[in-house]
Symmetry: C2
């Protein structure tokens, strides 16, 4: 319990502890900071004084003096998304194990917020940070570049950034998408909706235009779309721009778009959803259309979760190694902070298709 330090304003400082213990400031500092030598006797006195006063070191002052903060920053697009929540957990676990604190910032998918978040981390002098960036093109990476130029180690997670040659920890998005769409095709589907696409105001008519649009938006979008097209190409199924969703990525929008694809003369018999909210959006569309999954429409989605397994039917989903994604990113960052030379390489982790019951062959037309 902190004693009355004669109306001292804030929390106790090292000088006050020193005074209380009757030793010099430096001795108290050595004891409490755990460096240099102090005789057992004085050490004991200092410790007792610190205990009595309820002393806690001021991390700000310490960082100022040493130049390191033992703190990592994390910038994610949406902490409310279970995917990022898992990644963050992986980061926190491994950084804590190495004695680092973690500051988490969420940008809610807004590039301006991302820039602001980057500045907060720079200003607070974190030792390095991990970012799932919405930036892609040359014009949008200035904030990350600025950090790198200051000598702050940065590693990318989930979303690579083409214009930057930083270490990135990602999954095999293209392969994962291809594998899922192939499973749909193998079941006999040929009209497959692609649900979370580029947020363009209207659908580009050509394959090339679509790909360009997707890649301009988010790295993962482009990759997943490529995987979808890969599978289509391999099976010689013609690409139909009407089967890909464009516009803002909201659950409501996904519902609208799937509803539209369901009303097409040659309607979809399967959907591939690139994110978890796209899955619920699609499911909602099926329900209101009075259609059942998988009888009428098969479905595969990204990001497995425990409710996907208890749905009726249990959903076939792509499981991302969220914890490892975070752990690996933290590990690479911590190594860089520790002095390792950044390699600027792409670390690709494998995802896994969890087959359940939401895919069956299409009904005869």
């Amino acid at each position: 319990m902190p004693a009355d330090r004669g109306r001292a304003a804030g929390p106790p400082t090292i000088s006050e502890v020193a005074a209380e213990a009757g030793v010099g400031r430096a001795t108290a500092a050595r004891t409490l900071g755990g460096y240099g030598y102090v005789s057992p006797e004085l050490r004991e006195r200092v410790l007792a004084a610190a205990e009595k006063l309820g002393y806690r070191a001021n991390a700000l002052a310490r960082s100022m003096s040493t130049g390191v903060s033992h703190t990592l920053g994390v910038i994610v697009a949406d902490i409310g998304n279970p995917f990022f929540a898992g990644v963050v957990r992986g980061i926190c676990d491994t950084s804590r194990a190495r004695g680092f604190d973690t500051i988490v910032l969420s940008t809610y998918e807004d590039l301006d917020e991302e820039v602001a978040a980057t500045n907060v981390l720079i200003d607070k002098r974190v030792d390095g940070f991990i970012v799932a960036s919405a930036a892609i093109g040359k014009g949008e990476v200035a904030h990350i570049k600025a950090a790198v130029e200051r000598g702050i180690p940065v590693v990318l997670v989930d979303r690579a950034v083409a214009a930057l040659d930083l270490d990135a920890v990602v999954i095999d998005n293209r392969d994962a998408a291809r594998e899922a769409v192939e499973a749909l095709i193998a079941a006999g589907h040929r009209r497959i909706g692609f649900v979370w696409g580029p947020p363009a105001p209207e659908a580009p008519a050509t394959r090339r235009g679509l790909l360009a649009e997707a890649s301009r938006n988010l790295w993962t979008d482009g990759e997943r779309l490529r995987g979808y097209l890969d599978a289509l190409d391999d099976a010689r199924i013609p690409f139909d721009p009407e089967l890909v969703m464009v516009g803002p990525k909201t659950e409501e929008r996904a519902t609208e778009e799937v509803t539209r694809m369901l009303a097409l003369p040659d309607r979809i018999t399967a959907v591939f959803c690139t994110e978890t909210d796209a899955v619920t959006g699609a499911l909602r569309a099926l329900r209101t259309a009075g259609l059942a999954c998988p009888r009428d429409v098969a479905l595969i989605g990204f990001d497995d979760s425990s409710w996907a397994a208890v749905m009726e039917p249990p959903l076939t989903m792509i499981e991302q190694p969220v914890h490892e994604l975070g752990a690996k990113a933290a590990q690479v960052l911590l190594d860089t902070i520790g002095g390792a030379e950044p390699r600027g390489e792409m670390h690709t982790l494998r995802s896994r298709l969890i087959v359940r019951s939401s895919v069956t062959p299409p009904m005869a037309p």
Copy 2:
């Protein structure tokens, strides 16, 4: 673009900006810090120099000097839980609007982690923090008390702490639980399982023992159990200790317990789940038992989410005002930091029962 500052080690400092602009350090500081007076001409020179060097103020140094950090801390039990993710978002939105940064820490339901998190925030000298604490009893609140005694404003969110008279922003847990259980009873159910209970190793045989156990664990647990008992009492339904789950709160454990309740001679016909993972656990148990919801077993759960609406059947759920919970907590905290006297009062927000299709009358036995 930062110029070469002759092999300057770290990021540019205010002294370097001053030198570059050819003015005194104080003048540069006044310009960049936005205080005091500087003539338009010098101001221009300083700004240009800062721009050229890519100057950003060191928030650590600033905080040391001023004693305030313009930063809020948040400690939640599990950032991966959509409930807390929503609360955090509410906090971030309102604190950002008032010019504060937010540091989020997750304890993953571990009291030791909570203590560590508190220390991190104290050491980093946040201006105040919000905590959803796992502490309840007198013996566990020392870390929060310590912060309060240092003069750090603290407000509790979601989970009140009996032993502390701090401001707390919570929902009407007891009423919410009662309302849900009443709905079940109104549909004709009398054997109602209570799924996420106190984590005691074995079930206390008496009502009193159970309540004591629940209250010793988590404030919300006690409240929700009270609401359950309220509804039972009002309907003169005898309390059966076999119908409440005990043990660790994991989805697996919930599945086991519901399976057990389903195997009882006088089996349950309804379950009330106090958290979202308890819902999926219960659903899993129903599925493996070959039972359907709501035909065989009715269900109501806490924490609505978008997948609950697309389940088959759509689930009746209690919706908590997550964003407002966070916003209100941040507002109270910010006011306290701003100088308002803490009132130590309980701010109770209303939850809402969203009726869907998972409740129907029980089948005749």
